[in-house]
Point group: C2
Chain length 227, copies 2
DNA sequence: TTAGACTTTTATCAAACAGTCAAGATTTCG
DNA sequence: CGAAATCTTGACTGTTTGATAAAAGTCTAA
């Protein structure tokens, strides 16, 4: 252990075993923390799931909190990548459409990461609040300006850009975080891939056109002055 | 304690003290479980927060799980009330508009309940999956039919009704479950009430009209064939 | 007012938990 | 190879946790 520390002050070249085991541990920890949160997770279970003894695990990460923090550190970057790609120069609607799709893909491909993030939020983000302020907020501010620009140019409807971002986050992450509920309600008929495509199609319609039928659509008669 | 059990088999008339203390306990437990989940919560903290000793608390609820279950039992009913009120006979858009508003009000007025529910979902709903199947699913099925009817009549745009419901749930509950994040991003300028009104206004626009600008709006020129 | 029902506390327990230590096993590399 | 570095383990520590038992205290209704 003292070697680990000594090396850390140098260039910290990692052993094969070190790389493998840290990966195993982080994977098992993600499984555990994403479901039970920080307090609900136990080192014992993480170690078992990672296929090693508890002291061995603690050789790589000295405290429970270190594992959690390692997990969180790599999370936020990945998590914000789709938003970073939102391009001010592109066409607004296709840009938004593909942002939504990228977020939905993340919910499909990294549900555990999504749940870990959700868990941290539910707890009031005690361990990443600062990161939210220094990394998340500036990015959102920047992209909110992009959206505002599009609105001023009349290229998308004028709405609060931050709330727009919230709604994209929440609708897409819902499929990871509330997966059980989604499955109960949709039934087992459609597989995961089918559900994904349905969700993508639905969200596209919602965000682009909303629910109000086009003026001049078929059965327009019965409505008086909707809303 | 044996008296408590004996009474339970009879008509279970509750003492004044019993009523008061159970209420105190459930309130403290909601606070604790909604943040830390089932495993992360401890009886000690719940007892302290309820202002009583741990054995005293356990006199009213014999096991940790009993408290959690009492909480969950009263939750789902309240939680589904807004959807129950969705009226097949009413006008579609105003009905949806007020459903969204009711859900948003619940997120504002019962954020702890929302987080408790979210926490249970994140864990895979081990304790209420059955309830979801017997209570939630039939209700959603019923309301999905209502929505389908409106779509067939051309009164709202045709979309997958279940995904529509998901998106209403996720966007509204987001304001309770991810409250920290929302506050970090929106800044402290607007108080809770202001944020609520902004969210309500935004969601109304989103769900009714989406982001695509009305045909014939001001700066239509630059777009080619959006999406 | 007092017996019996109800409530609270003190003391206690076994299991689970985060974390340590030193000794033994294995790998790496000159 | 063989020694140094790295890795793994078993045994252990102090604390927290969920839960119980019994006794002491309080309330309430006849």
């Amino acid at each position: 252990m003292q070697q680990l520390k000594a090396r850390a002050t140098e260039t910290q070249r990692k052993t094969r075993i070190q790389v493998e085991n840290e990966e195993k541990i982080l994977d098992a920890a993600l499984e555990e923390f994403s479901v039970h949160g920080f307090r609900g997770a136990t080192i014992d279970r993480i170690a078992t799931h990672a296929g090693m003894s508890k002291p061995n695990l603690l050789y790589y990460f000295r405290r429970k909190q270190d594992i959690y923090e390692a997990l969180i550190a790599r999370l936020l970057d990945t998590w914000l990548e789709p938003l970073r790609e939102l391009d001010a120069v592109g066409d607004p609607l296709p840009e938004l459409r593909s942002y939504i799709r990228r977020k939905l893909e993340m919910a499909r491909d990294f549900p555990r990461e999504s749940r870990l993030f959700a868990n941290e939020m539910l707890q009031g983000a005690p361990r990443i609040k600062r990161l939210l302020e220094t990394e998340l907020k500036p990015l959102v501010d920047e992209k909110a300006e992009v959206l505002k620009g599009w609105m001023k140019a009349g290229r998308i409807n004028p709405v609060d850009p931050r709330h727009l971002i919230f709604s994209i986050w929440s609708t897409t992450q819902h499929y990871a975080d509330f997966d059980v509920q989604v499955q109960v309600i949709l039934g087992p008929d459609r597989g995961a891939e089918g559900r994904f495509e349905d969700a993508a199609r639905y969200l596209e319609t919602l965000f682009l056109d909303g629910l109000r039928p086009k003026a001049g659509s078929a059965a327009d008669a019965p409505r008086i002055r909707t809303l």
